[in-house]
């Protein structure tokens, strides 16, 4: 039964990684841009929620009502003021600028909040509650994390395939020049996409902060998990990203069950294995 338990924990952890990865997947799908500061933005969002909780006394989940619009605005501003100047054929400028942003953000958080690790108060009941599924018992927070990953993917897919904004996203992703002829402004579409990505980041951050401790230095590792989930899933498929997150999560919990020092390493090895066998990921767009 211990293995079944490990498996379930891994799947639920995968939900968190999928939340980290959804924004990355969305942005890459639309503008072929990888934001190397994505992990640090997750950590920054966790601190933002911490500040809101401390100032207002709200529960972290309620604080999302403030944090999600703020992160959306931050993403919109980042894209409009900085990244839109750099989107183009050459991938070097956006990579180097977002890498610089990652280092700046990490050290600014260090300066503002010190290196001490923090946690979001889940409240007495939610933090410890668990659900009994017969052979395995799972914590309510991990379960809700996974549920919100599914909800976020459903919502993003609905936006993508059923709204005018989604149509603009898809059109710009396919061919920005033709999209422009149809009256779409790619720069505005990009700004909406990055805003949306950071809104999702805020949702990932609240679960990250309630599940475990966080400090300013953990951003890059979150970026790497998110990236691995996107690649394993195959570019452009959000359900694939969830599957990728689950694979990383399961590999990590099994690695940790064998030897706690192997947790992160086995996640990376699972990623390299997929890259070896299926270089285009498990569910590349266009396969079905």
């Amino acid at each position: 039964m211990i293995w079944l338990d490990t498996l379930v924990q891994g799947v639920l952890l995968g939900g968190l990684y999928a939340l980290f990865a959804a924004g990355l997947s969305l942005v890459f799908g639309i503008m072929r841009l990888v934001n190397l500061a994505h992990g640090d933005l997750i950590v920054a969002a966790a601190y933002l929620i911490l500040v809101i909780v401390t100032l207002t006394g709200l529960h972290p989940l309620l604080a999302l009502v403030i944090a999600v619009p703020l992160m959306f605005a931050a993403g919109w501003a980042l894209q409009t003021l900085v990244l839109n100047r750099l989107v183009g054929q050459d991938i070097l400028p956006p990579l180097l600028v977002t890498f610089g942003l990652s280092v700046v953000l990490q050290n600014a958080l260090l300066e503002g909040f010190s290196a001490d690790s923090r946690k979001l108060p889940a409240g007495g009941w939610l933090g410890t509650a668990s659900v009994d599924f017969g052979p395995v018992t799972v914590g309510l927070v991990p379960l809700l994390t996974f549920a919100s990953a599914i909800a976020v993917i459903l919502a993003l897919n609905a936006i993508f395939y059923r709204t005018a904004l989604g149509r603009a996203f898809r059109a710009t992703a396919d061919d920005p020049v033709t999209a422009q002829l149809m009256g779409i402004r790619p720069a505005r579409v990009f700004s909406m996409a990055t805003g949306l990505a950071l809104a999702v980041v805020a949702i990932g951050a609240v679960w990250l902060g309630m599940r475990a401790n966080f400090d300013p230095a953990i951003g890059p590792a979150r970026l790497i998990y998110a990236f691995e989930a996107v690649i394993i899933g195959g570019l452009g498929s959000l359900w694939g990203t969830l599957a990728g997150g689950v694979i990383i999560g399961v590999a990590q919990t099994f690695g940790a069950a064998i030897n706690p020092e192997w947790q992160i390493l086995s996640g990376h090895l699972a990623f390299l294995l997929v890259l070896l066998l299926r270089p285009r990921g498990l569910f590349p767009r266009g396969s079905t």
Binding site: L36, L86, L95, E261
Partner: protein, 344 residues
Amino acid sequence: MAYRSTTSTPAARLFGIVALIVLLALAALPFTGNRALMQELFSVLILLTLAQFWNLLAGYGGLVSVGQQAFVGLGGYALFGLTALLGLNAILTLPLAGLIALVIAVPMAWFAFRLNGAYFAIATWVMAEVLRLSLAQWKALGGGTGTSLPRDVVGGTWGLDAVTALTGLRAAGARDALSYWLALILAAGTIAGIYALLRSRAGLALSAVRDNEVAASAVGVDANRIKWLVYLTAAFGTGVVGALVYLQIARISPDAAFSVTDWTAYVIFIVVIGGIGTIEGPIVGVIVFAILQYTLSQFGSWYLITLGAIAILTMLFAPRGLWGAISARTGLHLFPVRRRLTRV
């Protein structure tokens, strides 16, 4: 009327003489016995060498790697393994560390080249993490907490006696002087080597791939081969640097040896600020870096915030960096690679 193709310019010849004088002056530093300055310049020369190799990768090869710390760490661990465990002399392990980094770079490149552009960058980072976590399992070298280089390895380094006799420095000073000289040779050798590469046939192909990969392929340049060449060259050089750094520090741990901040972030900022895609760029960048470090080092993380912000602003408003701006305004090239026709 006869014409000759040449890359040489009067300005470059003058600069060559100045560079030689500067090099001789730098080489003479240990005779003053100023250990603090030697240690400062050691780190500057190390960063300059790393920056040249990263610039070769990203600026010329178009391969933006965020995982060069993999080879610094491999070089460092190779030094420790070969000296502390196998008993080789430290000097001998410097080239061997480069070779080990090169051999391990082959499967790494094979993985990373499956992804292009932005995903290549993160893939290199993942592999550096895999190496860090794997070497943290190497209990003979202290596992996750690391270990120190045995005293007899440090003291038995070839050349120490000669340096002592030459400079009259005591043991610790002689070690600093030896490391400093090795770093100076490495930095000057790297710059000369990369300059020679760029002026060669392969360098012409490299510049063509940098400017336009499709067009270069159309005229028969094997872009993939060029990328392998650049990646493996950078791995070798970075590995040697790693071994030299950890010979000087004499203490290694996985977190320090595979630090993305120390071995890649600084290096990227130096190249971006100085000017990517030129040999002059990293040199200008490292000078700016050293000045900033000197003035801001007591402010802790503000230093990195400032450096990152300058790099971002450079990329936004002067994407060719400081040297690019100078060069565009004056037409100056200190390491000319452009072939011009002159009448004989």
